[in-house]
C-alpha cells in the first residue's frame, strides 16, 4: 500500500551513522515533555465535589445508550461524592466478562442475562472471580418486530399464526430468501432462538443474519422508506423506537417445556422470549479494593422511566452520555442520595 517503487540510495539518513543526534533529540524531547507534566491540574468540575484521589474504578460500557448512561451516572456520583476517579472502557458484551474476570474491569451495570447464562455459570458460579451485584431495575425484552404499517395493512400479522400463511409470509421475501419470507437477525452475538422457533412452529420463513446492529437499523430505515415489510428480532428498550414505529409480533406464551429447551439447548424451543431482568456484576475483588465505591454500585438502581429519560437526552436531544448523566444527577439528588447509604 502506498508504496513507492523508486528507492534512491541515501534517502534514509535517519538510519545512518547519525545516531548521536537522534539520541540527543530523544533526550531533549523527553525532558521538554516532562516539563509539561506538572500542568496536569485536576480538571474536575467545581463546586462541592471532592478532589480525585486513589486508584480508578473501571466501569464497562457496552455499545448501547442505556449502558453508557448508567455508567456515566455512576461516574458522576462516585467521582463527586467519593472522590474516587472512574475510568470508562468501551467494550463488547462478551469481552466484558473476560475483563471482569481479570479485574481490568471492576463492574458492569447492565447485563442482559438471557445472553449470558454460560458466562454466569463460568465466572460467577464456578470460578467465583465475578459476583452478582443485584438487579439494575429496568426489565427488557427481546421479541419479533414488524414496522407498524405491516400490521395496519394485515392485522393478522400481529401474531405468529399470521405467518403460517405462505402468501403473507412471502410479503417478507427478498433475493436472499427466495420464495420464503425473510426473518432478519441483527448481531449474531445476541441471544437467539429464532431459528428454532421458525422450525418448530413450521413457519415458511428463512433465517438471515444481517451481521451487525447497524445493518439491521439500516434495514429498518429502508423498509419504512420503501413500505417493504420486514420481520426481525428486535428489543426494548432501544433508541430506535423513538423514531420508528415498530410493533411486536405475539409469539406463543412461555411453557415449562420451552424453559427446559432453553436450558438444555436441545433445539425444541418454540415460545416467546423471556423478560430480561437487567442485572449488575462486579469483580470479586472490588469490595476489598474500594468498599465505598462498591457499596454505591451495589445500591445503584434506576427505574425504566428514569433510564429512558436520561437515554432520551442522548438519543433525542443529541447530548453526550456524560452531559446527559450530569444533567440528570444535578436534577435528582434524592435518587442518588439513597445509593450513598
Amino acid at each position: 500500500m502506498l508504496v513507492s517503487r523508486k528507492l534512491n540510495k541515501g534517502e534514509y539518513m535517519i538510519f545512518n551513522g547519525k545516531k548521536r543526534h537522534l539520541a540527543v533529540a530523544a533526550v531533549m524531547l523527553a525532558t521538554l515533555a516532562a516539563c509539561g507534566d506538572d500542568e496536569k491540574a485536576a480538571t474536575t468540575a467545581s463546586g462541592d465535589c471532592k478532589e480525585l484521589t486513589g486508584d480508578a474504578v473501571t466501569l464497562a460500557v457496552n455499545p448501547w445508550t442505556g449502558s453508557a448512561v448508567n455508567a456515566q451516572v455512576a461516574k458522576a456520583v462516585i467521582e463527586c461524592q467519593l472522590g474516587t476517579p472512574v475510568e470508562i472502557i468501551e467494550i463488547d458484551e462478551y469481552a466484558t466478562w473476560v475483563g471482569l474476570d481479570d479485574a481490568s474491569i471492576d463492574a458492569v451495570l447492565e447485563v442482559w442475562p438471557s445472553g449470558h447464562a454460560a458466562d454466569y455459570q463460568t465466572y460467577i458460579t464456578e470460578k467465583g472471580t465475578v459476583i452478582d451485584l443485584g438487579l439494575l431495575g429496568p426489565s427488557a425484552k427481546i421479541g419479533w418486530y414488524v414496522p407498524k404499517f405491516v400490521v395496519d395493512e394485515h392485522p393478522e400479522l400481529a401474531s405468529w399464526e399470521g405467518f403460517q400463511d405462505p402468501a403473507l409470509a412471502a410479503l417478507f421475501g427478498t433475493a436472499e430468501s427466495g420464495e420464503l419470507g425473510q426473518f432478519t437477525m441483527g448481531d449474531p452475538s445476541y441471544v437467539t432462538f429464532d431459528e428454532q422457533i421458525i422450525a418448530n412452529l413450521g413457519l415458511p420463513l428463512k433465517y438471515v443474519v444481517a451481521g451487525s446492529e447497524a445493518a439491521l437499523l439500516t434495514a429498518i430505515d429502508q423498509a419504512i422508506a420503501d413500505n417493504q415489510p420486514l420481520l426481525m428480532q428486535f428489543w426494548k428498550p432501544h433508541w430506535k423506537h423513538l423514531e420508528a414505529e415498530l410493533v411486536e409480533v405475539a409469539l406463543p406464551a412461555i411453557t415449562p417445556a420451552c424453559e427446559a429447551a432453553a436450558a438444555s439447548g436441545d433445539g425444541t424451543y418454540a415460545c416467546d422470549y423471556p423478560v430480561d431482568e437487567l442485572m449488575k456484576a462486579a469483580n470479586a475483588g472490588l469490595e476489598a479494593k474500594n468498599a465505598a465505591a462498591f457499596n454505591v454500585l451495589k445500591a445503584f438502581q434506576l427505574t425504566t422511566d428514569q433510564q429512558s429519560e436520561i437515554a432520551g437526552y442522548v438519543d433525542r436531544d443529541g447530548l453526550t452520555a456524560q452531559a446527559a448523566a450530569e444533567k440528570w444527577v444535578a436534577d435528582n439528588p434524592d435518587v442518588w442520595g439513597a445509593w450513598l447509604g
Binding site: L2, V3, M28, P63, D101, A175, P188, S189
Partner: protein, 673 residues
C-alpha cells in the same frame, strides 16, 4: 494485505533452449498420461463420494473449544500466564501509556513539528511539508487526542514488529528451510480472520492496549520479515565475496556489508509495516482502546456515517503522514530536491531538533493543549447529507439501470445463487480434482498437490449447526468461494479498463492517484455499513464491499504494469505503422501481462480480507462462522477456529494458483527461445 507483493515473485523458471522432437513427443506422452489420471480420479469421485464423509471430521472444533475452556479456568493460576503473559501485558500497557503521555505532552504543534522534522531528514522539504500538512489535517477533520492514542498504539506495534521481524528476516535469508516454514506461518497470520484470535488474545492479554498491540503486530509483522529476507537475498554475490576475502566474520559481513546494501528494501518493509498496522486499527479498537478507531465503530453503531467517516479520514491522514515521512518519496529528481533547502545534510538533525524543541517549549508555555477549535472543520454533516441523498435517489427508479436495489437482486438471483448451487451440486471430490487439475495445467504436479491438500483439509473441518440440522464446513467454504470468485470477476471488470487507461494517460493517472491512496488506507468499516444503504443486507452487499476494497490496488498494479513496459518496443511498433490501439493490444498489454496477473493476485487477497468482515452486512458463510468465535466464544470458539482455518486454506490455494499465472513465462519469451 499482501501474501506476496509483486517484488517477491520468484524468478521465471528457465526453459530448455530448444526441444528436440523426441523430447516433445515424450512430453506429450506424459501429458496424456496425466490427463488420464485426472479423468479417472474425477470419474471415481463422481461414483463414490458426493458428500464429504463424516469420518473425515478431524475433531478440531472440539479440540479448540476445550483449549479455550482450559484458558478461562486457568488464567489466574497457570504459570504460563503468571510468568509470561502477565508480565508481557504489563510491559505493553506501560509502553503504550507512556508513548501516549509523551505525545500529548509534546502538544499538537510539537507532534506536527516532529513529523516535519523526520520528513525533512528522510525526504527533504517536500516530505516535511506533506507529513506536517497531513498531520494538521488530522486535527482539522478528526479529534487530535484520540488520534494521539492511535499513534501511540501504532508506534509501539511498529517498533515491536521491527524488533521481531528484522532478525527473523535475517535468519530466513540464511536458511531456505526456515524461509519456507515462515512463509506458510506468515501467510496464515495474515489471512486468518482477526475474529478467530480475538477471544484468545483477550484471555492472554486482557483488554485495551496490550491485546491491541498484539493483534496489530501479528498483522503487521509479515512485511518486515519478507522484505528483510528479500533485501538480504538480493545482495550481490560479489559484495559478499569481497567481504569474505578481506576476512570479515559472519557478523561483520552481516552488519557491514549485507544490511547496509539491503537497507532500501528493509525500509520499504518499514513502510509496509506501518501501512498494515493502520489497516487493522479499527478492528483492534474492538478491544476497548478508546482511540480514533473506536470513533469509527461508535459512529457506525449509531448510524452516524459522517462521524465514522471523519474519524476514518483522520486515520487515513495519519497513515499518509507516516507514509510520506517513512518513504521520503521524492516526486522530483533528487538533485532538484536538494536545491530547495540550502542546508548541508549534516545540519539537518541539529536544526530540526532545535526547531522541534522550540515549538514544544512555546506550545507548553502558551498551553496549546487542545487543537484550536477555530481550525477544525466538520465534514460529518455534508457527508451525512450526501449519504442521505444517495440513499434516497440511487436505490430505486434510476433510468436504465433501475437503481442499486435492482443490481443487488440481480447479483444474488442471477449470479451468486447459480454459482453457489453449481459448486454445491458438484460432488466435492470433483472440485478437489478439478481445481488440482487447473493447478497442474498452470504449474505442474507440485501446485496440483498443494491445492488438493488445501481442499482436503477443508473437508476435515467438520460440521456446524444451522438450518435446523448440521451443515458441512465444506458447504460454507463453497459459499464463500462463490462470493470470492464473483467479487474478483467484478473487480477485474471494473479495474482493468481504468488501470489500462491510467497506464497510458498521465492525466488520468494523476487524477486517480489521490483517490487510490485514500481508498487503500480508509478502513473498510467506514463504507461497509453505507454499502447496506444501497445494496440490501446479504451477499450482494458483501460482494460490493469486497469490490470497493479490491478495485484500487487492482487499478494501481495494472497501471504500474503498463507503465513499466519499456518504451523502445512501443516506439518501434508505432514507427512500423501500428495505430495506438494496435500498439496497446499487440505490444504494451502482452508485455505488461505478468505485472497485471500479479495485480489479480493482490486483488484476490483484498477480496479475501473483506469477504470475512462482509459477514457484518449479511454475507454469511465462513465469515459469519469465524465472527461467531468472537461474538459467542464460550459456545462457538471451536467452530470459529475451524471456519477461520478454512478461509486460510482457501486463501493459500487461490494465492498459489494466481501467483503461478503471474510468474509463468510470457508467450513471447517462449516463442523467442
Amino acid at each position: 494485505m499482501s501474501l506476496a507483493a509483486p517484488v517477491m515473485s520468484s524468478s521465471v523458471e528457465s526453459l530448455p533452449t530448444h526441444e528436440s522432437d523426441a523430447v516433445r513427443r515424450d512430453r506429450m506422452r506424459r501429458r496424456n498420461g496425466s490427463l488420464a489420471v485426472f479423468a479417472v480420479l474425477a470419474a471415481l469421485a463422481v461414483v463414490f463420494l458426493r458428500e464429504v464423509p463424516s469420518w473425515m471430521d478431524s475433531g478440531i472444533q472440539r479440540w479448540a473449544q476445550d483449549r479455550y475452556k482450559w484458558s478461562i479456568t486457568n488464567r489466574q493460576t497457570s504459570p504460563v500466564f503468571r510468568w509470561l503473559f502477565n508480565p508481557l501485558t504489563d510491559f505493553l500497557t506501560w509502553s503504550v501509556e507512556h508513548t501516549e503521555t509523551l505525545l500529548l505532552d509534546l502538544r499538537w504543534p510539537g507532534v506536527v513539528a516532529l513529523i516535519a522534522a523526520i520528513g525533512w531528514r528522510t525526504g527533504g522539504v517536500q516530505a516535511a511539508l506533506a507529513g506536517a500538512g497531513a498531520m494538521v489535517g488530522v486535527g482539522v477533520i478528526a479529534d487530535f487526542d484520540p488520534a494521539m492514542r492511535t499513534l501511540a498504539i501504532m508506534t509501539v506495534s511498529v517498533v515491536i514488529a521491527l524488533v521481531i521481524g528484522i532478525p527473523l528476516g535475517v535468519l530466513s535469508a540464511r536458511s531456505d528451510r526456515l524461509e519456507r516454514v515462515l512463509r506458510v506461518v506468515l501467510d496464515t497470520a495474515q489471512v486468518l480472520p482477526i475474529f478467530v484470535y480475538f477471544s484468545p488474545v483477550q484471555l492472554f492479554f486482557g483488554l485495551k492496549f496490550a491485546p491491541a498491540v498484539v493483534v496489530t503486530v501479528v498483522y503487521a509483522l509479515p512485511p518486515a520479515v519478507r522484505l528483510t529476507n528479500l533485501g538480504l537475498r538480493q545482495v550481490p554475490v560479489v559484495a559478499n565475496e569481497v567481504g569474505h576475502s578481506f576476512g570479515a566474520t559472519s557478523l561483520q559481513q552481516l552488519f557491514k556489508v549485507q544490511l547496509p546494501l539491503a537497507k532500501n528494501t528493509i525500509l520499504l518493509g518499514l513502510n509496509q509495516v506501518i501501512m498494515m498496522a493502520f489497516a487493522i486499527v479499527v478492528l483492534a479498537s474492538l478491544l476497548g482502546t478508546g482511540d480514533l478507531g473506536q470513533s469509527v465503530l461508535a459512529g457506525l453503531q449509531k448510524q452516524h456515517v459522517g462521524q465514522a467517516f471523519a474519524a476514518g479520514m483522520g486515520i487515513v491522514l495519519m497513515a499518509v503522514a507516516l507514509d510520506r515521512v517513512s518513504t521520503g518519496r521524492p516526486e522530483r529528481p533528487l538533485s532538484r530536491q536538494n536545491r530547495l533547502p540550502a542546508v548541508p545534510r549534516n545540519w539537518i538533525t541539529p536544526i530540526s531538533v532545535a526547531a522541534v524543541a522550540l515549538v514544544v517549549v512555546l506550545a507548553n508555555a502558551f498551553d496549546w493543549r487542545r487543537f484550536p477549535s477555530s481550525l477544525t472543520y466538520d465534514i460529518s454533516s455534508p457527508i451525512d447529507s450526501a449519504v442521505d441523498w444517495v440513499q434516497r435517489n440511487l436505490r430505486k427508479d434510476v433510468p436504465i439501470i433501475g437503481g442499486t436495489q435492482a443490481i443487488s437482486d440481480f447479483l444474488v438471483i442471477r449470479v451468486l445463487n447459480p454459482m453457489k448451487e453449481f459448486l454445491l451440486w458438484l460432488p466435492w471430490l470433483v472440485i478437489v480434482v478439478g481445481i488440482a487439475f487447473i493447478g497442474w495445467l498452470s504449474r505442474g504436479w507440485r501446485l496440483a498437490a498443494t491445492i488438493a491438500v488445501c481442499l482436503l483439509l477443508i473437508a476435515t473441518m467438520g460440521t456446524i449447526p444451522g438450518g435446523g440440522g448440521q451443515i458441512q464446513m465444506w458447504d460454507h467454504a463453497m459459499d464463500t468461494l462463490s462470493q470470492v470468485l464473483v467479487a474478483i470477476a467484478l473487480s477485474v471488470l471494473i479495474a482493468f479498463p481504468l488501470g489500462v487507461w491510467a497506464g497510458r494517460s498521465d492525466a488520468v493517472h494523476r487524477v486517480l492517484r489521490p483517490f487510490l491512496d485514500i481508498a487503500q488506507v480508509l478502513p473498510q468499516f467506514v463504507y461497509l455499513i453505507p454499502v447496506v444503504f444501497l445494496f440490501s443486507i446479504g451477499r450482494a452487499a458483501g460482494v460490493v464491499a469486497c469490490v470497493v476494497y479490491a478495485v484500487p490496488p487492482c487499478i494501481r498494479l495494472t497501471a504500474l504494469g503498463m507503465r513499466e513496459v519499456p518504451t523502445s518496443p512501443r516506439e518501434a511498433a508505432i514507427s512500423f505503422g501500428a495505430t495506438g490501439g494496435q500498439e496497446m493490444r499487440r505490444v504494451q498489454l502482452p508485455l505488461a501481462r505478468k505485472a497485471i496477473l500479479l495485480g489479480i493476485n493482490q486483488t484476490l487477497l483484498m477480496v479475501l480480507a473483506t469477504v470475512i468482515i462482509a459477514a457484518l452486512v449479511g454475507a454469511g458463510a465462513l465469515g459469519l462462522v469465524s465472527y461467531e468465535a468472537t461474538s459467542k466464544p464460550n459456545l462457538k470458539f471451536g467452530q470459529g477456529v475451524a471456519g477461520g482455518l478454512s478461509i486460510v486454506l482457501l486463501a493459500i490455494m487461490l494465492d498459489r494458483l494466481t501467483q503461478a499465472w503471474g510468474t509463468r513465462p510470457n508467450r513471447e519469451e517462449k516463442q523467442s527461445r
